[in-house]
Symmetry: C2
Subunit: 763 residues, 2 copies
């Protein structure tokens, strides 16, 4: 690939970027798209945007960039949670280290590479890109020590910056813990592997155990029910209920379409929804006495156990309870909104098998993915491809631009399309693994996608790109540094185009929210459905974190060897910084938070990238027969690994558990201020497995049904007529054996379903 | 190697074994050797052996074998601790699995191998040993499924037996925990990384912290002092004191030499020694008020913190105390006799560096060791050796027996001698690592020796033996199964001779205690020193566990491929069972115990051996072009690894911590029975850093000195004359700045030293 081809590619991408950014700055001002671009704000802040037609709306502007840059870390923390801050810090770290690397390598190393061999230089635009890599430096050059020094500086500064960030995030995590409003999850432990007994009900077993062994701090517990048939009916009913809400709102808001997104929150149906919740609370006061006694033993596999203090909950979660480590397994509970209810009832015994099975599954998937990737990578080596498929030669020889396009652009676009399938599949694997919280699921998917990305984009590209005919790349670990050293500079071309296409373009499309925009359009103008304020997506950390970290990996490995990539990468990170901040503030809603657990992943990846860079550097110095430079690289590798070990000892434990000192201080503070009773009181309603249908007395169903209709100013009274009689025949054979509380849910769900159907027909 | 050579070797070894065993049965009956062969009994049971001259003493007997076999597991547990039982179980497991394997392979597989190829068989004694390995089975044989089935049976039975043993030992570990007399270590936590403050003394800092955050359960604490100059003087004095004791006893016991080993225990000097200890106890009552206040802050890096209940100590040891994971690091304390005092004052910050450094050190040592081993292994391939060193050809060609000896015996003898240096070096590495207890140090050394043994004896032998000219054996991991499959059957000859020499002979020498015997002889008749009852060695688990596990590895890997090794191995295990039981009961003394922590090491090694066997099997079936057998081996590998994972989940946590349920039950039982106050009382004197010189008031020194002399019936009264005046000038410039308690120790030590010197001169 020549410089001119690179510039063509860069030109196309810069043009596209500018176009998309301008489009975005216009589209975001259109009231019709407000749900796409300000989902979080609408859902959380009830902000009202004016709907008047003014010219300003159609002029591209840069105000959003300024806004995104101006907002402080505290604002991001408040608006989008700690994970968003961590993601932001990853970008800040990348910008810092690659700014330094860019200055160092473009001005220090690029000239060395360019004039590395005594060859005749043509005009720069027609120069091959390989001239700018370390491949152009002659063997046994006396300038290789510059590369080695650059490697030292980059590694050293990266470690220092990493440590600063790690400490900063650890501090934020502790602040997040201590300064937040009392979090029910800190008082709660999720117990799994509860042993079954023939005599007692599950609830009694839990009660007995914790009364006996944690008597001083045990408060009460709440059993998790197995999600069975009844739940399926209820989920259906829930969906139906939402549709139903939508219909009633539709009739109300016929006249004032521009404020539809407000109606839904202050409207009648939401109120009745809330009423229900408080009733649920009142009914949950004595959960262990009433509801759970009626349930089958079979259905009990997990329970939330509540403690008087945070410290007691921590202690219960850390110690081994009994002589069987697979019984009475206690872990700190996830936050109420974070609980992944449908996994809670999984038997604890199964989990390790599931974990291994999904691990194997993801590895198999990773390797099967090689097939398309290997083929695509062949495209960037046109000569090899032409040798293998001779009929292509005629086509490609004729058109120069065709060749340019195929080598410069096509491979990464096709790769990109394939990669879109990865995240959902890894998410599926993570779900099967059996995590108990949404955030854990996403974090696990993030790791899987990260390994996948690094393996399939970096290693396979590097190895298959150069040795396309030879599949036994893994046969000799000793030669890997040498092989990488040969391959990486050669593949720098591909990586630069990858940054241009995948990096820049994906940022633009992330900003534009193309899918959201189109879907919003179809919903509104084709399907004529009402807008859904409830559904605001949460930030896809599991795809974005690996993406940013991969670019970091490319940057580190290419920095010294092929520094031409760094300016492009730096543009990516700057753009990403602005775009992601904007998206976090405006588009995505934070429902759950891992509490900064993405940082250790980022840290490990950066360390891996550094060590890989150093190993490749070692190989290159070996190839160039520079024993001094190679010799000096070995202590650098050791120092980097030692630094990593220090961080693991000094900071990682803070991300695995909470320090007792802080928890005890918080407990004492709460006790002194008398807030503790209020907190205990609130714990009763914190975890609600069936939030909108829990334990409603049969007699109340009608009243609630009435409530809903009362709230709607123009509601028809057909609802009451179609309502199933709550005193229906409970002795029907199909209903026999089901516990009373479940029947209540079922009755209620069916009532809604029937009512909805009638209503749908009457309209 | 031919069958006849093997039989020669076996004959030599059997003869040696019988000779040694007979010698042992005679020597053990001689009163002069009683200290060598009954060290534990003498030290613990005060047993008296008659000294009369009777003929019976010089007739070989087998009574000791019967005794060793008859003793039950409970007796071993009581006499030698849980580690001895674990070691015993490793032997029992090996006997069981290899009995099965021997029956299966000798009767099922050996004939198949022998008649595997359609070749002309010569007389069996002249037959090459390779005829009996799988190497003799022809390619694509239809009998290879028998090997595969045997592999399945052996792996399956091994897993079942492993699980049974694991469960049994976990149960014993819990019984050991609950049924034992109240153990002070269960109430105690060793705290390291205590932050320094300028204002407060270290003791106050510890007191403040635990009073604040563990107020309900904190009892008191005891600071660990840094071992400095004073301690060095004291160690010297201690040695001198022992010598001094020896001299006084010598004069007492001139007439009754045959009961010398009793005198030492009921004699006067021991009594005065005990007196001292009780005074130490009384003075330790208020350690936090008196002694520690006087000490420099610099000297405080660790402290023992005592809690009211076992559960509280467990909780304190499991949780993260503060926001800095390298401060206030709490771990359950080792048992008082097990504490490795000289490592306690190491700064906690250093430990991770030390751990990495020793790891690197041991790896380097492992690879440097290759040089002699590679050379030695060359000896067993005489043909290759002759090619390389042509001058040898003449010598070796001439003498047939010479060749026999060199190939059959010499290599393993030389290897054995080299191996004797390994254990002390690994022990040194483990000491540098900074463990806080003797048992941890030994366990760590055991792991290192194990890795060393497996790498240097198994892998290097296998790989260098076959590919002696090719050093790049590690270059291709994909080919390792194939390479091992080629090498292992070829090296079976060496392994059989290794079992004969290293296995059988080392058992005999272990039983004979050659070093002990010679040393005892020299001490008694050459140096004319008095016998030392204090020094009884503890069992060298760090050399014996790896040895037994290595033979297990050899057994598994050779079982299906070269079954001829199994009978020899089985003899080794039977002999080992008898010998080690005898040694554990009679010779070694158990001062400290890991509580069964050797079992997870053994378990992992057996799993590793099984998987290695299966991988080699896979390679062999691949070489023999039997896709069915190879295909069926892959699920076996997966199943074995799954089994291992299950054990890690189900049983391993019990070896890492204690279950809270049992501790709480024990605490309650103690509280109900009122024993708890007595236990708390005893905690004060449990951990004594300077056991025999702690905090003795200055005025008492003379009285104690007098005591010693009073006890000896024929003691001279010279001691009192040479005693230094305890009211010596404490304002001397060299003594300034030293705390008073230290001065007391110093004064006392010097007193003894001077007294001893005078006495030595007067004799």
């Amino acid at each position: 690939m020549k410089i001119s081809a690179l510039l063509t590619s860069a030109g196309i991408n810069i043009g596209l970027c500018v176009l998309f950014l301008s489009l975005y700055s216009v589209l975001r001002k259109q009231p019709a798209n407000v749900r796409v671009y300000f989902g979080r704000r609408i859902a959380e802040e009830n902000e009202r945007l004016r709907g008047a037609f003014i010219l300003e709306r159609f002029v591209p502007s840069t105000g959003w960039i300024v806004k995104a840059l101006q907002c402080t870390e505290e604002e991001i923390l408040a608006a989008a949670g700690l994970d968003a801050v961590v993601f932001n810090r990853i970008l800040v770290f990348s910008i810092r280290i690659f700014s330094l690397a860019a200055v160092l390598c473009v001005f220090g190393i690029l000239p060395l590479n360019y004039f590395g061999q005594d060859i005749k230089h043509v005009r720069i635009p027609s120069e091959s890109l390989d001239i700018f890599t370390i491949g152009n430096v002659e063997v046994r050059s006396r300038w290789l020590w510059v590369h080695c020094v650059a490697l030292y500086i980059i590694s050293g500064v990266a470690c220092i910056l990493l440590y600063i960030e790690y400490k900063h995030i650890a501090r934020l995590r502790l602040l997040h813990l201590t300064s937040a409003t009392p979090n029910p999850s800190h008082f709660t432990v999720l117990v799994r592997g509860i042993p079954k007994t023939a005599k007692e009900s599950c609830s009694d077993v839990v009660d007995d155990f914790f009364t006996k062994y944690h008597s001083s701090s045990y408060l009460f517990h709440q059993v998790v029910y197995k999600v069975g048939k009844v739940q399926k009916i209820m989920t259906g009913a829930k969906k139906a209920y939402k549709k139903f809400k939508h219909f009633t709102d539709e009739t109300v808001d016929q006249g004032c379409r521009s404020i539809t997104y407000r109606c839904c929150l202050c409207g009648a149906s939401s109120n009745s929804f809330k009423l229900l919740n408080t009733e649920c609370e009142q009914n949950r006061r004595k959960p262990d006495n009433e509801s759970s006694l009626n349930l089958d033993d079979e259905e009990c596999t997990a329970a939330f156990v509540f403690f008087k203090t945070r410290y007691a909950a921590l202690v219960a979660s850390e110690i081994l309870q009994t002589t069987n480590p697979m019984k009475w397994v206690a872990n700190l509970a996830p936050e109420p909104e974070d609980v992944y209810w449908s996994n809670l009832w999984l038997p604890y015994k199964q989990l390790w098998v599931r974990r291994i099975a999904t691990l194997l599954g993801s590895i198999v998937f990773m390797f099967l993915f090689l097939v398309p990737v290997t083929f695509i990578q062949g495209l960037s080596q046109l000569e090899q491809l032409q040798q293998r498929l001779p009929f292509l030669r005629g086509i490609l020889k004729k058109k120069y631009y065709m060749t340019q396009l195929v080598t410069g652009y096509l491979p990464s676009v096709i790769l990109q399309i394939f990669l879109y399938t990865v995240a959902p599949i890894m998410m599926l694997f993570s779900t099967l693994e059996g995590p108990t919280s949404h955030s854990e699921r996403k974090r696990s998917a993030c790791c899987k996608v990260l390994y996948f990305t690094i393996w399939n984009i970096f290693f396979v590209t590097v190895l298959s790109g150069t040795v396309i005919s030879q599949l036994s790349v893994l046969s000799s670990p000793k030669d890997i540094p040498i092989q990488l050293a040969r391959a990486v500079p050669g593949q720098a071309t591909f990586f630069i185009t990858y940054v241009l296409t995948s990096g820049w373009a994906s940022l633009s499309s992330e900003l534009m929210q193309l899918f959201g925009l189109i879907w919003n359009f179809i919903r509104k103008y084709v399907l004529r459905m009402r807008e859904d304020t409830e559904f605001v997506p949460s930030f896809p950390y599991h795809t974005e974190v690996p993406k940013v970290l991969l670019f970091g990996l490319l940057g580190f490995t290419c920095s010294v060897l092929a520094p031409l990539i760094l300016p492009f990468l730096l543009v990516y990170f700057f753009l990403g910084y602005v775009v992601y901040r904007n998206q976090l503030l405006n588009v995505y809603r934070t429902r759950y938070d891992t509490g900064g657990l993405y940082w250790p992943i980022a840290h490990n990846t950066v360390i891996f990238s550094l060590v890989l860079t150093q190993v490749i550097g070692l190989g290159v110095f070996g190839l160039k027969e520079s024993p001094v430079a190679a010799g000096f690289t070995i202590p650098l590798i050791i120092l980097t690994l030692l630094f990593n070990q220090y961080c693991r000892n000094r900071l990682l434990p803070l991300f695995r558990t909470f320090p007792a000192q802080d928890l005890i201080d918080m407990d004492r503070e709460d006790e002194r201020s008398g807030r503790i009773d209020e907190i205990h009181h609130r714990l009763h309603s914190a975890y609600c497995q069936f939030p909108d249908t829990e334990d409603v007395p049969l007699e109340k169903i009608k009243i609630i049904g009435g409530d809903e209709e009362q709230g709607c100013s123009s509601g028809e009274s057909t609802g009451k007529d179609t309502c199933v009689d709550p005193k229906m025949d409970l002795s029907h054979p199909t209903l026999k054996g089901l516990p009373v509380s479940r029947l209540r849910h079922a009755v209620r769900s069916i009532t809604f379903l029937i009512r909805l159907q009638k209503r749908g027909l009457s309209e």
